[in-house]
Amino acid sequence: MRLKIWRSEKDGKNGRYDVFEISPKPGMTVLEALFEIQDAEDDSLGFRFACRGAICGSCAMMINREMRLACRTQVAGLDESKSLGLKMFPALQRPPSLAPTGEILVEPLPNLPILKDLIVDMTRFYETYRRIRPWIEPEASRSEFSKMSQEDCAKVEKYGNCILCAACFGSCPVCERDLQYVGPHALAWAYRFIEDPRVGDEDTRMEIVSEDNGAPACDFVYNCVKVCPKDVSPAGAIRRLRDMIEKTKGHAGRPRSQ
């Protein structure tokens, strides 16, 4: 089996594809294959990693033109595995075309500047996350423990499971064409806070997500839902945010009748 891996310096300078032969063992993941290459063939191969157990979110990359965590993607059967059916956008249609059988194409996440090989600059991703104010203002005076129903917890828990891996960000056509868009990850987190009955400042956050580069910018192509390794479903959160925005607008725009 071969791995065809994107190699370059900053901003894709001197870009090329290197092909490495690997001998797949049962259960071997793409991340393990990258380690094998780094250890045995080329220790200058650059990629991020930490937990190797699909929880830290470091190793999202583009594998056979789909955004996946390298640690969770097995090399065996990858070329026969069911395609995620992503909506196409220019970053996915660049040459080379998909690799032949027995070869896995490994590239950095699109929509973020390349720093080296498979490592991208996540600044824009983290900044957009910060923009939605992803925190709760603790009420310093409260001494009692909060009450929260199991139903309320279940409503937001799914979105709180986001590991900020940026797979959704890399899969999103809007993120590619609109550099101001806050992105699926930030909107999922915004929804997690807005729907939490313990949060007191949802108005501020609603204002942020209602702006043109917030929830209204989403195309609903659902790539984010398809690639999310944690089943967070950002587009689901965006749909709900859009409903909330419509509702508020409806109230504001409707003339008061006595």
């Binding site: 080329d42 929880i55 830290c56 603790p138 929260m148 590991i163």
Partner: protein, 530 residues
């Protein structure tokens, strides 16, 4: 003030904690009961005044998390839910499904953002710079650019996690390389109880990814190849919920005596819990089992084996988190207060990070301005470290760095695993020292500046070898069995000789061993039965 980290903070290994965090919140529970369980679980090696702090402060830290918005799982009445955990006399483990660490880590990071904390990502610390009187600062390597930069600081808190990756079979993230322990001992601090390494009973066969104790807390069974719930032989009352050291040894014994599957693993059976309970309480475990073993626990048992999980030992600190070097503090898994002694209870590690993380912050704030600066010394150290890095780049691509790393991990697993024996450990220690000698001559092939992972790997291997040697020295010298340290040649606990902490310090470039008394308290030292 700044947070400096070799990875982005949310990539930290705390996020992988699954089962929960302990606090005596229940009406019939008490912090004293929590403290007793912790001390007994530690095989009486924990310092009892430190354990008191841990358990007394626990409810307050849970209240903090609650205020910060952590999505704890709830009872039908809307209170924070608690589940039973190993070695605990009361269901006192608060949880967020089986992703507790993820939710806690993100909560704390979000509060850092709220407070505008300056975060320096992808900086690898090369050296702490101390004078005889004070902490001067540190020198760090900027991974994205390859720059070596001195940082002036009168206080440094090391919260660098454990040294689990010195073993080949480990639940730990690949980044858990004992960096803090190596930096601290090099700066003149002491390492304590390094031989106490927790082997988690249930790690996924092959990848050794953690399968939470919560799986047993929720009612899962351990079964050998004859379908027996074999824990009845080893802990007839506590069964699957005996403390981790006991369950890990029981599993290893079943495997060693031929009652495992393929002489390699046993089964964790959750099938009787039913689809709904598994999906609501253990969704992460289910996902991991499906992703990494191709097994859906709703339908089939999970193949599991013991694997290295937690470093009880670490940088010796007092109850204010102060190490033996002025201005150097440590908290969390990198530190050894000691609240875990010879064996940590599940649910106490996340708790330690929060309780002693806060203590460390307060100690740092109260640390006096010494007025001692030495920019020149910082600059000189940075220059030396920078030259060392250039020197490491002197090799070809065929240098055997990865082979040295593999040899170290295999040696530690073979000689310092669940069961230990004097002659094997002596041979293991010799091997580790030999690897270190060869390591000194190893070089990397990557000569680049930006994101030179080979340099980081090289530095991490050096740190791991320091931790490994300390583990080996202390384990060999402790001629008894206590908690996680289980010797075939000394099967009993020996309080007359070894009810004391092992200490390793650096003299010149050699590690030396000494001992320190345990601070006992209200719980008398007894035989440990479950």
């Amino acid at each position: 003030m700044a947070l400096l980290s070799k990875v982005h903070p949310i990539r930290s290994h705390s996020g992988a904690a699954q089962g929960g965090i302990n606090a005596a919140l229940g009406k019939n529970d008490s912090w004293e009961a929590h403290a007793f369980d912790t001390v007994k679980g530690s095989d009486y090696l924990a310092d009892q005044d430190s354990v008191d702090i841990l358990c007394k402060e626990a409810p307050g830290r849970i209240a903090d998390l609650d205020r910060f918005g952590t999505l704890f799982s709830r009872t039908p009445e809307g209170d924070i839910a608690q589940r039973p955990f190993g070695g605990a006399g009361f269901p006192r483990t608060c949880y967020a499904a089986d992703r507790t660490g993820h939710h806690l880590l993100h909560t704390m990071y979000q509060q850092c953002l709220r407070n505008g904390l300056r975060v320096l990502e992808e900086w690898f610390v090369l050296k702490l710079v101390v004078s005889e009187k004070a902490m001067l600062g540190l020198v760090a390597y900027h991974i994205p650019t390859g720059e070596v930069v001195p940082f002036k600081s009168r206080v440094v808190i090391l919260a660098t996690g454990g040294y689990g990756r010195i073993y080949s079979k480990s639940t730990n993230a690949i980044i858990n390389t004992g960096d803090g322990a190596a930096l601290a001992v090099d700066a003149g601090a002491q390492l304590m109880d390094m031989e106490f390494v927790q082997f988690h009973p249930t790690t996924l066969r092959g990848t050794n990814i953690l399968i939470s104790e919560a799986a047993r807390g929720e009612g899962g069974y351990l079964k050998n190849k004859h379908g027996e719930r074999f824990m009845s032989r080893y802990a007839k009352d506590a069964m699957e919920l005996a403390p981790r050291d006991i369950v890990a040894r029981s599993i290893q014994t079943e495997i060693d005596q031929g009652r495992g599957f393929d002489n390699d693993y046993i089964q964790l059976d959750l099938t009787h819990l039913g689809r709904d309970r598994i999906k609501s309480r253990l969704p992460g475990i289910r996902q991991i089992s499906m992703d990494f073993a191709g097994v859906d626990p709703i339908a089939e048992p999970i193949p599991i084996q013991p694997g290295q999980h937690y470093s009880m030992g670490g940088i010796e600190v007092d109850n204010q988190c102060k190490a033996a070097v002025d201005g150097l503090l440590s908290a969390g898994e990198s530190a050894c207060v000691s609240v875990h002694g010879a064996n940590r209870l599940g649910g106490n590690s996340l708790l330690e990070t929060l309780v002693f993380g806060k203590v460390a912050g307060e100690t740092a704030r109260a640390h006096p301005h010494t007025g001692i600066h030495d920019e020149k010394r910082l600059e000189t150290t940075a220059k030396i470290e920078s030259e060392r890095i250039e020197d490491i780049k002197g090799g070809s691509k065929q240098e055997p760095m990865a082979a040295l790393r593999t040899e170290m991990k295999d040696t530690m697993t073979a000689c310092f695993g669940v069961f230990r024996q004097g002659d094997r450990m002596a041979a293991g220690l010799t091997t580790i020292r030999d690897i270190r000698k060869r390591y000194m001559h190893s070089r990397v092939g990557d000569h680049g500046k930006e994101f030179n992972q080979a340099i980081v790997n090289h530095k991490e291997l050096g740190n791991m070898l320091t931790a490994a040697e300390a583990v080996a020295m202390e384990a060999l010298a402790r001629e008894e069995s206590r908690g996680s340290h289980s010797r075939m040649d000394f099967p009993n606990r020996d309080d007359s000789k070894f009810l004391r902490h092992s200490i390793v310090s650096m003299f010149g470039d050699t590690l030396r061993l000494s001992y320190k008394p345990v601070r006992l308290g209200r719980y008398p030292v007894k035989e440990r039965v479950y």
